[in-house]
Amino acid sequence: MTAYMITKMFPKIIVGIKSAHYWGDFTQVDRAVEAGKLANVPVMVDFGEHQPTNSIKSLFLEHLRPGDIFTHTFAYGPKDLETVVDDNGIVKPFIFDAQKKGIIFDVGHGGGAFFWRQAVPAIKQGFKPNVISTDLHSDSMNGGMKDMANVMSKFLNIGLTLEEVIEKSTASPARVINRPELGNLSVGAEADVAVFSLKKGEFGFTDVRRNTLKGTQKLDAELTIRAGKIVWDLNGLSGPIWDSPQAISR
């Protein structure tokens, strides 16, 4: 049924199947993967809480397919959910295997799923998320997440290069959701463009427990263009000065 909804009814807007918040075994994930196979789309897993925890090694290596997405990668709630980084701050070796196998690690920051104690050691040991994303909702927008530019800035400050941060927020997600026409500036592509200024200074970034990491760089969205139209202009980069000849002639 879920697969038919995608292939027959909404192939243009539905890009994947989500499995989330299930407190049992692997049943829900397996059904999502079944639907994903039928519709030929990826599955995104917000792995349900369970005591004792369900094995994420088994999730990655036995249940998910290459191209399926593990979201909330840097969550921490070790009693209910197995973590990517162990108690000694070491990335579990099978995580690298899973990423090599093609499992997509997505940030999904949200109001409760991003911890410095997971993200900082992971990046240091060379485990980088494939995709940066928000988990935007009423609890995250005013908390540590704030907005996409803020989440991107966090990764910039813990060791990803600007190029990596942008790639993980544009081309990489486009590939993951099988939308190769998006996330690039190829000639002929729809003109969705962002212009950022990279502010230098003293900034602070909180995780979902309000623990702080101090940083020196922050991305600010100056200009956003959607399908060729300016939809955001922070500092009037695109507007003529009000009493200039250009303004009067308009």
Partner: protein
């Protein structure tokens, strides 16, 4: 055996609470904002002060409150500490009703996503709901938001659900029912709104004022759609009462008669030919009419605001007219709007007053908009950035400016609800 453990546990608990009590008496302040420059218009404070919060209320405002008396201290050196901003013209009756404009529909926005990040702690919806759906507004918006949500009720019973049809229906403008509903909901209804009327008559305005009189609350007018135009002078000097509000004060619409011919501008406060403020506007201010910004997506023009400001006509109240058409355009948020007036030469203390204590008085909520001891702890902390910034009006024209206000920290009812740079959080390294 079990009993033994219970008793032992109780003893530990007693000891624990004893220690806790000691701790509280040593650190009686929950949150201390230290070293900031406080601007509180009501209490005439415009200097460096510390602000202490306890149990959700303002506990003390004084120089040098020791950090040792607080459980948590925020270093506000170099920052401005103000009462949480009050925005009296938002559109926050968000919902999923199709084709219903700003009344339980998709052009309106959920408040919490657009208030706290700009230092706003109180927002008034400006006429989204009328007496027929004000109960739904309470249930879905007032009760569900962390922002304090108030409302101007529309004189149109069905609210702001469509300019071309529903909002023109004089049969749906009932002063008695509107006033009765306003009184019943007086915990959050603070005024009456009349907007978008395109008829060449004063009936809807007079209905709104009649409702305002019965309920004892001000009327806010969004004026200027009448065809052919009605004189603004008559609105301000004959129809409104002192204390009533003209919103979109710096709007400039080109005006046309019924045959489509452009005509003299009857509805703007600045004469577009002489660039002079029309004399009756000064008279109206003397009379007690409130001039509110209501920036919005189409209601703020540099061509009006700049000459008016140069001639000393500052707004009484800054407000947003927040909706999907303004949040991404020239308006953006209340901090951006406040920055515009700073750049136009309004002193910072006046900008803050026009966003805190002035609106509180206008909506007859004297308990809001200040940092008096005992009042609910709604606080904003701003950084005044220096640099090269640009600001856009509703027609896409820009000015450059050297200053910009940024909301660093917002506190609502004693709780941190926005913290841009983690000022209030412990550090991991």
């Amino acid at each position: 055996m079990q009993n033994y453990f219970k008793t032992a546990k109780n003893r530990v608990l007693v000891l624990f609470f004893a220690l806790l009590t000691l701790n509280v008496s040593a650190q009686e302040i929950d949150l201390l904002i230290k070293g900031g420059h406080v601007i509180d218009a009501k209490n005439k404070i415009n200097t460096k002060m510390d602000v202490a919060v306890k149990d959700g209320k303002i506990f003390r405002v004084a120089a040098d409150i020791p950090a040792s008396s607080a459980k948590k201290t925020v270093n506000a050196n170099g920052l401005y500490v103000t009462p949480g901003l009050i925005d009296i013209h938002g559109h926050v009756f968000h919902g999923t009703e199709p084709d219903n404009y700003l009344s339980n529909s998709q052009d309106a926005l959920p408040p919490d996503g657009f208030t706290f990040r700009a230092g706003v702690t109180t927002v008034a919806d400006a006429g989204g709901a009328g007496w027929k759906n004000i109960d739904l507004f309470r249930k879905n918006v007032v009760d569900k938001s962390k922002t304090r949500v108030l409302a101007f009720m529309n004189i149109v019973g069905g609210g702001m659900r469509g300019v071309d049809t529903y909002e023109q229906d004089k049969a749906d403008m009932d002063p008695k029912l509107t006033a009765a509903s306003a009184k019943k909901n007086k915990d959050f209804v603070i005024g009456i709104k009349i907007a978008h009327y395109i008829g060449h008559d004063w009936d809807p305005t007079d209905f709104a004022v009649a409702a305002g009189k019965i309920a004892g609350i001000p009327v806010m007018v969004d004026f200027g759609k009448a065809l052919p135009p009605l004189p603004l002078e008559d609105l301000l000097l004959k129809h409104l009462r002192p204390g009533d509000i003209l919103t979109h004060a710096y709007r400039y619409d080109q005006e046309f008669d019924k045959s489509g011919k452009m005509i003299e501008h009857k509805q703007a406060i600045v004469d577009v030919n002489t660039k002079k403020l029309k004399p009756y506007v000064w008279d109206a201010r003397k009379r007690g009419i409130i001039f509110d910004v209501g920036h919005g997506g189409g209601s703020f023009s540099w061509g009006q605001a700049i000459p008016a400001m140069e001639q000393g006509f500052h707004p009484d109240v800054l407000s947003s007219d927040l909706h999907t058409g303004s949040m991404n355009a020239g308006f953006k948020d209340m901090a951006n709007l406040a920055s515009k007036f700073l750049v136009l030469g309004m002193p910072l203390a006046d900008v803050i007053a026009a966003s805190t204590w002035n609106p509180a008085k206008v909506i007859q909520r004297p308990e809001l908009g200040h940092l008096s001891v005992g009042s609910e702890a709604d606080i904003a902390v701003f950084r005044l950035r220096e640099g090269d910034f640009g600001y856009i009006d509703a027609s896409g024209m820009s000015i450059r400016g050297k200053q910009k206000l940024e909301a660093e920290l917002t506190i609502r009812n004693g709780r941190v609800v926005w913290d841009l740079n983690a000022l209030s959080s412990p550090s991991v390294k």
